[in-house]
């Protein structure tokens, strides 16, 4: 069970306030005097007697079942190497993708020759973490569902992975207009949902850009990102012109919106 001790930011070297008899967990260590000291910047949390610090910044660590967004970094033999901004290396096996024709069969050598048609170098894709290797050093991805696959008609926003919590739906639609995919690795795809690749209409584009700008600002303001929060921030900043959105004044306002709650 997770108990937040106090929502006080701790810095590396700060003593984490905790009851006596606690044990140091990740993000902490015990000094000579026996105090538990943080070695990252973040918010402390307690799991039974274990004191941990959830770091605010840092690399994504893959977990099975997470939705992530990645970029193909290498096309290899029967698999793609995918960059998901994690400390681990991610791979997508040829056998763990959906064929465009939709048939289920064992992948032949013919398919290997067509790998670049499915995903080419530098393509962005959404996928799910299927499994981790035993030492946790490698990640296997899968796109065996129609909702995963190559991304188009939109733009990528990279935020801190710690701000994207697990949510019920990682694929969501805001105001029935703009679609968002929240990758747990902090990569967020904001797009116009259409089966074809086309020139995004200006009104939709303005909304996509507006939401992306808000995401960048929320990342700066260290606000937890969720569809409800984006909706709230979106409504409270709707009076600001799109061109003036990326400014320090908006950042202050987003911080205020977050502090009220």
């Amino acid at each position: 069970m997770e108990i937040e001790i106090e929502r006080n930011l701790v810095m590396p070297g700060d003593v984490v306030p905790c009851p006596t008899g606690s044990m140091p967990g990740y993000g902490t260590y015990q000094n000579e005097v026996g105090e538990i000291v943080s070695n990252v910047m973040g918010y402390p949390a307690m799991y039974n007697r274990l004191v941990c610090v959830n770091s605010l910044r840092g690399c994504y660590i893959g977990e099975t079942g997470n939705v992530v967004i990645g970029r193909i970094s290498q096309v290899g033999n029967k698999r793609w190497k995918v960059d998901i901004g994690a400390s681990q290396e991610a791979a997508l096996q040829l056998s763990s993708i959906d064929l465009p024709t939709g048939e289920h069969r064992i992948r032949s050598e013919e398919d290997q020759l067509h790998m670049r048609e499915y995903f080419n170098h530098n393509d962005l894709l959404s996928a799910e973490v299927q499994s981790k290797s035993q030492e946790g050093k490698a990640i296997n991805l899968q796109t065996r569902s129609s909702k995963f696959g190559k991304l188009k008609n939109g733009m990528l926003v990279v935020v801190s992975p710690n701000l994207v919590a697990r949510m019920r739906q990682h694929f969501c639609q805001l105001n029935n207009e703009v679609d968002i995919i929240f990758g747990r690795n902090g990569w967020i795809w904001v797009y116009y949902n259409n089966t074809n690749e086309l020139e995004v209409p200006l009104i939709r584009r303005q909304q996509i850009v507006r939401i992306s700008c808000l995401l960048k600002l929320m990342n700066k303001a260290l606000v937890m990102i969720s569809p409800e929060k984006i909706q709230q921030v979106f409504e409270r900043t709707s009076d600001i012109e799109l061109e003036d959105l990326l400014a320090e004044s908006t950042l202050e306002r987003i911080k205020d919106i977050d502090a009220v709650e």
């Binding site: 080419n120 170098h121 530098n122 393509d123 962005l124 190559k150 991304l151 188009k152 008609n153 939109g154 733009m155 990528l156 690749e197 020139e199 995004v200 200006l202 584009r205 303005q206 850009v209 507006r210 992306s212 700008c213 960048k216 600002l217 700066k220 799109l242 061109e243 003036d244 959105l245 990326l246 400014a247 320090e248 950042l251």
Partner: protein, 266 residues
């Protein structure tokens, strides 16, 4: 990658870029002078809402001139925390561009102390702090200009003893400023799908067909043009880009003193 490129170029066609700007407006940049206490002149350039971008420090020492009555200017540009070969090559390119377009027009005669014997050696060190810094040429030129404005040189007088031919450098009271009235700044106008775009972000730079660097001085005279990237340009495209660059330069020169620059052309 292709779909992202398409999204960006379509946005430029529709005059709505990925950070909400129109194609002819810039991000707000802030330039702070005198950030390094140990250097006689320094400046730091930040872009609003992003990490520190570029820092520039100047250093002066006395040396022997290479040309009879001129001083020596030495530029170095480095990318912090990176040592990839491609980055180093890029930095060498940027350095030669800045030298060609900007420092060639620096009045080196003012650095002379005793003609042929002693002169000031001016070292300009630029460090790029942001890992995906963009619109580098323009921003570096602005940082260097601000740093040079900040430089205070000890007032000196060179004396040569007529009989013994010995040289003395006498240090006078007070300091002098470097004269940079003739020094141009560089503005970059990019061409993406035949539209002129100002102040590119790193993603947009990947889509640019061609980048035109104009070096323009205070009076609005164009002193040099260099083109990067393999795109093709029509003559009237170059002319319209030149007009845009002139307008931008006028905006920059009027705002440079305030330390906060944001331009938007209609």
């Amino acid at each position: 990658m292709q779909s992202e490129k398409k999204f960006i170029t379509d946005g430029i066609k529709q005059n709505c870029r990925c950070d909400g700007r129109g194609i002819l407006s810039s991000r707000r940049i802030k330039i702070e002078k005198g950030v390094c206490t140990l250097s006689p002149g320094s400046a730091q350039l930040n872009i609003e809402l992003s990490s520190p971008h570029i820092i520039c420090g100047c250093k002066l020492e006395i040396g022997v001139p290479e040309v009879e009555d001129e001083g020596i200017v030495n530029l170095s540009i480095e990318l912090a925390g990176k040592s990839l070969m491609t980055d180093k090559e890029r930095m060498a390119e940027v350095k030669s561009l800045i030298e060609m377009l900007m420092l060639n027009y620096f009045n080196k005669k003012q650095l002379c102390i005793i003609p042929g014997r002693k002169c000031w050696k001016l070292f300009i060190d630029v460090e790029i702090l942001d890992k995906d810094a963009s619109n580098l040429i323009e921003h570096i030129s602005l940082t260097i200009t601000s740093a040079l404005e900040d430089v205070k040189v000890l007032a000196t007088e060179g004396i040569v003893n007529k009989n013994t031919k010995e040289e003395y450098i006498e240090i006078l009271d007070g300091t002098v400023r470097i004269n940079i009235d003739e020094l141009p700044i560089i503005t970059t106008v990019a061409q993406i799908n035949t539209s002129s775009v100002l102040d590119l972000t790193a993603e947009e730079e990947g889509c640019a067909d061609s980048l035109l660097h104009f070096s323009i001085d205070k009076n609005g005279t164009i002193k040099g043009i260099i083109k990067e990237n393999p795109g093709r340009l029509a003559v009237d495209q170059v002319l319209s880009a030149a007009n845009i660059a002139k307008e931008v330069a006028a905006h920059i020169f009027s705002d440079l003193g305030t330390g906060s620059i944001k331009y938007k052309l209609s």
